[in-house]
Symmetry: C2
Subunit: 142 residues, 2 copies
């Protein structure tokens, strides 16, 4: 969007991944933990079926921060992630973003980044991003 953004402004984004995406992510990153790929292995865990890589789910933050909110030109400074509940393929989740602090001198912001299930609104991933964007978080011109 690349307009000025201020504290309390927020954004929501629905997303899902497929098992094919999980396989591609495993191949690209080398993370072939059987918990994500092997139904038989996963059946013997508390999850009962394969769960998505937490880091694959977390890429939705990188995508939205880098391309939509605040968008183009954003530079990722940091991200905290707490993987609270398993996430599964072929399931629509809601990623939410809320600006909690802006530093106009440094052109940075702290942004609360969460993921929720869409059926019962349970939080699956709790996080916080730090982002620099010279255009969006600069002081308002007067």
């Amino acid at each position: 969007m690349n307009m000025k953004l201020t504290v309390d402004q927020s954004f929501e984004h629905l997303f899902s991944f497929t098992q094919e995406d999980v396989v591609k992510f495993a191949a690209l990153t080398g993370d072939d933990n059987p918990l994500h790929l092997d139904a038989e292995f996963a059946a013997n865990t508390s999850f009962k079926r394969p769960i998505m890589h937490g880091m694959l789910a977390a890429t939705v933050f990188s995508k939205v921060l880098g391309t939509i909110f605040p968008g183009k030109g954003s530079v990722y400074l940091g991200q905290k992630l707490e993987f609270l509940r398993p996430m599964y393929v072929d399931t629509t989740y809601k990623a939410t973003f809320k600006i909690i602090e802006v530093n106009e001198k440094k052109h940075t912001a702290r942004i609360e980044t969460h993921i929720y299930t869409t059926d019962r609104n349970k939080i699956t991933l709790r996080g916080e991003a730090s982002v620099l964007n010279a255009e969006v978080f600069a002081a308002q011109e007067s």
Copy 2:
């Protein structure tokens, strides 16, 4: 490895990504921020050339934690990431892992996760992971 691991044990892992990997990551995640893909755009930033997605670099933590150290069966509970310096394709980096706390009752550990340049040993990504692994972080049997 899946032996018992204790505080101060550490592990190092060399890795690199190619621009083709960056393009695949952008396609898979939807993160097509031009800072990673567009040499002309990147030339007009302080980075001068495209930088790797920070989250792509961070996947090395997921890979190593889930497949080597502590390895198979690991469940990711959390990850803090501070993107301190830009990272580039076709460059070998060193990911380091050091166990800083083990909770044998909960079968969890906090693990310091860093990435360094291999030429000048400068830190590029500073992080800390929380991982559950029932086999590796259980109390020693006597």
